[in-house]
């Protein structure tokens, strides 16, 4: 069976398996290299590395010494307000210290520990009354709002400039696109090539994949010319349009359909058509309105924290406004309007430099928090006992607001009726309120704890409160859905939840530095160990440790304290040494065999297919790859029964409605006698009737039970042999699997030799 040259791109899972096989295949060849040669290579590497290692190993100490100095001098630790970050950094540093001694890290750690304890003290004393001058607070809010406004203006200017610079590129893209469009009418194949090139420029994944599929389909003859032409001028052009739209939205900011159309020199209809699918694919979303026209933006992987924080602030201010009267209410309302407008603008901006906004935004948040609290205390005269209980529980401020509204409105439902004249049963209302109060109380407590202590897990929260862990999880999920919480990572298998925070530059600096300090000390220890006696099995680890150095250096070169990179000379000097060391190691690794497979396939060695096929499939989502090979199909033994297609676990085999007529005349008499009686009579009758031997295959219009040709997609075939075993054809059946690579065998061999 002929197989055209395979396409490079295929399904990720298949790619994973293929990687595995390639790694194993490589190993098999490598094992032929003589040991003496290996030793020679290793010795050479050792000599070459020797002059480089000293400076590399000395680099971390040198850097962190300077870093500590800079931190002490600039006093940036005072700018840290997030205790979570502080704690995480301390933990990192402590672990780093446990790996190897370092004076500078010790000093840095002490500094952070001091900062943390002073913060805790400050908080303990600052629990004072919530008496606040509302007028001053409101004016602070309005000042901060203006500040944020001007920063946002800047953001928008920057975005505008970036958009300007992207314009030239866009003009070129649109030109290519229009040319391909014209060409598609006459020469679809060339046009497709051009569209593919365009795709690599716009980097629009779905478009690229679709183009590749069409190309492959065409090459393998699955798509005929008419259909190919239609696909290119319809689907592929639309995909190309989508790529350009993605380019516009990514580089030039959010746009309306009309704006995109103008930029692309395309009709709004075309843009609209392309956009609908992009929205469905989750690539584009509507973020606001410009007049009546919806504004679209690229979907961001994560909303920037200041946007989230501002969303909460707007909700809180809305609450405050309700509790104020006269002038105060007016001022507050003005601020509210501005903040709402700001929120819209930030949403339209999408991504921006978070750090610039962090300071005013945090201040604004604090002010609004205290204002909320003030607004509440001033109003609380003799509301229900429950409300007081909640306040004493230290409920998170805005949650209290929702509660207050419910408490005020609820009793009306019992005494009066709703629009449909329904009354609320007082007893039912009581239960409802109890549950509601309990929930709000618990959620408030959780929020307070997280805000104070940094990111926490359900487990931590359950320990600190008396709430059962499952209830906590439910609250957390609910609050995450309301965007009150975000996921920040995991600890001991539990997810860490945190309130949205905007880390300041100082916080980021400390976080990055401590994180890298840990990585570097680990890598340093490992590197020293390996270099003491360089052995072949360690070659991979050597490369990994050097890679850690390389990446950490790159990152440290971007960490600024008081506007300057620390220890800049060393950072720059060591770059070359690290690079050379990495390169040398890789070169040697390529020459000697590794002794450990990257993927262990022991499990696979014992797989007996198909007895475990179903189980494996349900667990993994695909059938186990048992090797690579070809499936040979013999027309004369095939009954056209489709059993192979029905049984194939990977849909790799198919009965195509095509009859290979010439082969009907090449079946030997012996083969005919082996066939089931009616089948052989069928062939004999045809031979008896034929005037001439046909030279061409017959293409059937639709599927016909009992007739057809079997085709195998070798890129889907996992060599499980199920089709071969199921085939009811005479003798051993019409199918034969020729294994070129039997994975279980390969694995057995490797595991026994190593």
């Amino acid at each position: 069976m002929s197989q055209s040259k395979p396409e490079k791109a295929f399904a990720p899972k298949r790619q994973r398996m293929l990687d595995m096989v390639l790694a194993l295949g490589g190993l098999k060849e490598e094992s032929a290299i003589p040991l003496s040669k290996v030793k020679e290579e290793l010795d050479r590497l050792k000599t070459e590395l020797a002059p480089l290692t000293d400076s590399i190993l000395a680099f971390p100490d040198s850097y962190f010494e300077k870093f500590l100095e800079a931190v002490e001098k600039s006093n940036i630790t005072t700018e840290i307000s997030d205790k979570g970050i502080l704690k995480e950094s301390i933990a990192n540093l402590e672990e780093a210290l446990s790996k190897s001694e370092s004076e500078s890290l010790k000093g840095l750690n002490k500094l952070l520990v001091d900062t943390l304890s002073s913060m805790t003290e400050v908080e303990e004393t600052s629990e004072t009354s919530v008496d606040i001058d509302m007028t001053t607070t409101l004016s602070t809010i309005s000042d901060l709002t203006s500040e944020i406004e001007s920063i946002t203006d800047e953001f928008e200017n920057t975005a505008e400039t970036e958009a300007e610079s992207a314009r030239d590129e866009l003009v070129a893209l649109v030109k290519t696109l229009n040319e391909s469009k014209k060409k598609a009418e006459t020469d679809a194949e060339t046009a497709l090539d051009e569209l593919q090139k365009l795709g690599t420029k716009t980097r629009y994944g779905p478009g690229l994949r679709a183009t590749a599929q069409v190309k492959r389909g065409k090459r393998e003859g699955r798509i005929d010319d008419t259909r190919f032409h239609k696909l290119v001028i319809e689907n592929m052009l639309t995909e190309a349009n989508r790529g350009v739209i993605m380019f516009v939205l990514g580089k030039m900011g959010s746009k309306t359909v009309v704006q995109i159309g103008e930029l692309m020199q395309a009709s709004s209809q075309t843009v609209q058509n392309a956009l609908v699918t992009m929205i469905q694919r989750g690539e584009v979303e509507m973020v606001g309105l410009d007049g009546d026209a919806p504004v679209f933006s690229k979907v961001l992987p994560k909303t920037p924290n200041p946007t989230l924080v501002l969303k909460i602030i707007v909700q809180q201010v809305r609450g405050i406004v309700k509790s104020l009267e006269d002038d105060a209410a007016k001022t507050a309302n003005e601020s509210l309007d501005k903040l709402q407008a700001l929120l819209e603008r930030l949403k339209i901006l999408g991504a921006y430099d978070e750090t610039e906004l962090s300071e005013p935004m945090n201040k604004l948040r604090e002010t609004v928090d205290s204002a909320t609290e003030a607004a509440l205390t001033s109003q609380t005269s003799d509301d229900t006992e429950n409300l007081k209980l909640l306040i004493s529980a230290g409920l998170e401020a805005f949650a209290r607001f929702r509660l207050k509204i419910t408490l005020e409105k609820g009793p009306n439902l019992v005494s009066g009726t709703n629009v449909y004249g329904e009354k609320l049963d007082p007893e039912f209302y009581q239960t409802m309120m109890d549950t509601y109060l309990e929930n709000e109380l618990e959620r408030g407590t959780i929020l307070i704890l997280i805000r104070e202590l940094g990111a926490l897990t359900t487990h931590d929260l359950a320990e600190r409160t008396s709430i059962p862990q499952d209830r906590i999880l439910r609250h957390l999920l609910r609050m995450k859905r309301d965007e009150l919480l975000t996921l920040t990572g995991e600890s001991h298998g539990y997810m860490l939840y945190d309130v949205p925070r905007t880390p300041s530059e100082a916080e980021i600096t400390i976080q990055t530095a401590s994180d890298l300090a840990l990585q570097l000390s680990e890598a340093k220890v490992e590197l020293q160990r390996i270099l003491r006696e360089l052995k072949a099995p360690d070659i991979g680890n050597l490369a990994n440790s050097l890679e850690v150095f390389s990446k950490a250096r790159d990152k440290l070169a971007t960490v600024y304290v008081s506007g300057a990179v620390i220890d800049e000379t060393t950072v720059n000097e060591v770059e070359e040494s690290i690079q050379s060391a990495v390169l040398l190691t890789y070169r040697t690794r390529a020459k000697i065999p590794s002794t450990r497979p990257k993927v262990t396939l022991e499990d696979l060695a014992d797989v007996d297919v198909p007895s475990v096929l179903d189980e494996y499939r349900s667990q993994m989502g695909y059938a186990p790859l048992l090797g690579f090979g070809t499936i040979e199909w013999e027309q004369s033994k095939c009954l056209g029964c489709k059993s192979c297609e029905i049984e194939c676990p990977e849909n790799a085999i198919e009965l195509k409605p095509r009859i290979e007529m010439p082969k009907f005349f090449e079946i030997s008499d012996e083969a005919l006698s082996q066939l089931p009686s009616s089948r052989s009579l069928f062939y004999k009758t045809i031979q008896n009737l034929a005037k001439g031997k046909p030279s061409k295959d017959i293409s059937l219009e639709k599927e016909a039970p009992g007739f057809g040709s079997v085709e195998v997609d070798l890129w889907l075939c996992v060599a499980c042999r199920t089709c071969v075993r199921r085939c009811p054809g005479p003798e051993s059946g019409a199918l034969e699997l020729e294994l070129k690579w039997n994975l279980p065998e390969v694995v057995k061999q490797i595991t026994s030799t190593s």
Partner: protein, 721 residues
Amino acid sequence: MDDNKSAVLICTCGKQLQLGFDFLETQVKKMDLATSVDVHDLVCQEEGLPKIAELLKASSGHLVIAACSSQKIQPRIDQYLDSKGLDSSQIQYVNIREHSAWVHKDLDEANQKSVDMIRGTLARSAKSTKRNIEQKEISTHVTVIGGGIAGVESALSLSNLGYEVSLLEITDELGGHVRSLPVVAPTGKSGKEILSSRLDMLQNDNNIIIMTKTRVKYVTGEMGNFTVHYTSEDEEERTLNTSAIVLATGFKEFKPTSMDEYRYGKNPDVITQFELSCMLSEGKLTRPSDDKPIKEVVMIQCVGSRSEDYKKDCSKLCCTFAIDNSLEIIERIPDANVRIVYMDIRVPFENEMIYKESREKGVDYIRGRVSMTWEQDGTTYVRVYDSLLDKYLETPVDLLVLSAAILPPDGITELSETLGYAIEDDGHVKELYGKLRRNETRRRGVVAAGGVTRPQFVFEAVTDAQAGALIIHNELQGGKIESVSRGAVLNADDCVGCSLCAQQCPRGVPLMIEQIEDEEADEEQKILFKATIDTLNCHSCGVCQSLCPSGATQLNFLSNDQLWSEIEATLEDAGPEYPITLCFYCEECSVSTIDIVGTRKMEYPANTRLIPVPCAGRVSIIDLLKAFEHGASTVMIAACEKDRCHIGGTGNEIAQVQVDVARDILNAIGWKGERVDMFRMFSAEPERFTNAVNEMVKRAKELGPTPVHEGTAGKWMEVTE
């Protein structure tokens, strides 16, 4: 007495047929397979029947009767022989009246055609086998799914017929929609009254187990041995073994929340017709929004029905229900104004009486549509377009009632996956055959009754349920099935396990069984299967036989050998001088079409030869090719219309595949593909057959001698391309 040879009895139809009977007699006498030839004037009358019995005994079952259509005489002959204790199953019939004497003017040609067909039938008869009576015992338990009026009635009827019944209802109460109907036309009784006596009978019936709050998940097995998987209130899955299933899950009323013009779901004073029925049954007739009295009522017909967007056709019941309910309103609130906005009023049968009554009592009918509904100062208003006056009317209403469409119930698509019945485009369960087998579904042993097949009035559902119960009784025969085994018989030794029969059987009869023991012994680790076929469940279409690569499954009354030798014998004299068109016709639509052609004496060319098959699906590509091999110039299949296959819907499509592939192959091997074709027909249009035959005879003439006639067939090795 030679076992292969048959007696031949030729009937002159009271000396009325224009055929040369002397010629027939001499010709048939010369045939090797004929033991005796008798010409009789009235085979189907009292004089003729004893002659048949006599010949049958003498020829040990092998008898060929050349007379009129077997559709007419066979039942009479069977009945007579049965009363004499004789086996009539081996008798083969040749229709020399409708197929020959009545449709051909030229006596010689008609004679020759009759002789050829008798020769062919003799060959078929030679290899016929004796009838075989099979018995099996199955449980007499039937499961009824759905506890509405149809389900209740089915359960009661089945219990009366002696079956144990489990009645499964998804809600907590029996009665379905009928429970809430204030009045059921034309009885004037309420739904509860109609139900009450039936529910009493149910309660007192020890053969019926009622299971409420029960949901059927899926069903496995086949007739006589189904397993119903269901869950009860506690969500735990249980099973129930049963022999047959009545599907009576009723219908659901369309909730028009998506039709903005009516504000249903937003305004509490806008309700559906069934919701009004519930209100009337409960006795509380006030405005739902504020409990104030009702005076102005507007009903809107065809909400969702006869609309391309929701339900394409008429829902049939809504007009009657709306009139029922409006009369009920007027009776309770005499000064109420009821207006019905309609497109067409459709009240079938005796329901016309209540329409008349409603007009007399002052119900106002407005032909038109409602364009909008709105609320103003606590009052609901509607704007109606009156198409007869061409005017818009605006009026305040206390109650706006929407006659919403009747839709198929939830869950029947899911159940069809395991129960294997077919579903119509509109989502209702498809009847096996609209004209003749309404209660049966495609799956044997599964009967659909009541609203699940189409909107039905209460008493239609009741009759439907009774009919369904009888169908099941017919199938299960009280648990002791004894019948002539007429259908596909599988020779397991020949079965290669390809599963083509199981994949394509229109009724899902063959089951594939994995051969575990053989697999263990197999050196090549083959996965081995063999089919099994319960002949008593088979509908004898022959699709499995047509597709079987090994001849393992064959109809026991028409084996491959029988058909092949019949083809050969019929075409014995076929040659290029007198080109023959061979026609395989199905014994469902086509046989009656051809009989009508005969009785109307519609003439067509006599160089045609006809061979009956139970269903077009029985004709395999080999049969078609054999016909050419033995000298036919053109070959055709006459079959039922598309989607109108009497045997589960796909027999004719399988035949179409054989014809299509045969044509492609003929073209490829140097023949003309047009020599084979397929035609669909039904008896109301006999021209379809004559047109088809004329076309194929014309082609035979135009295309000239076939390679078989020219002697070039099979000489492909000598031809170099």
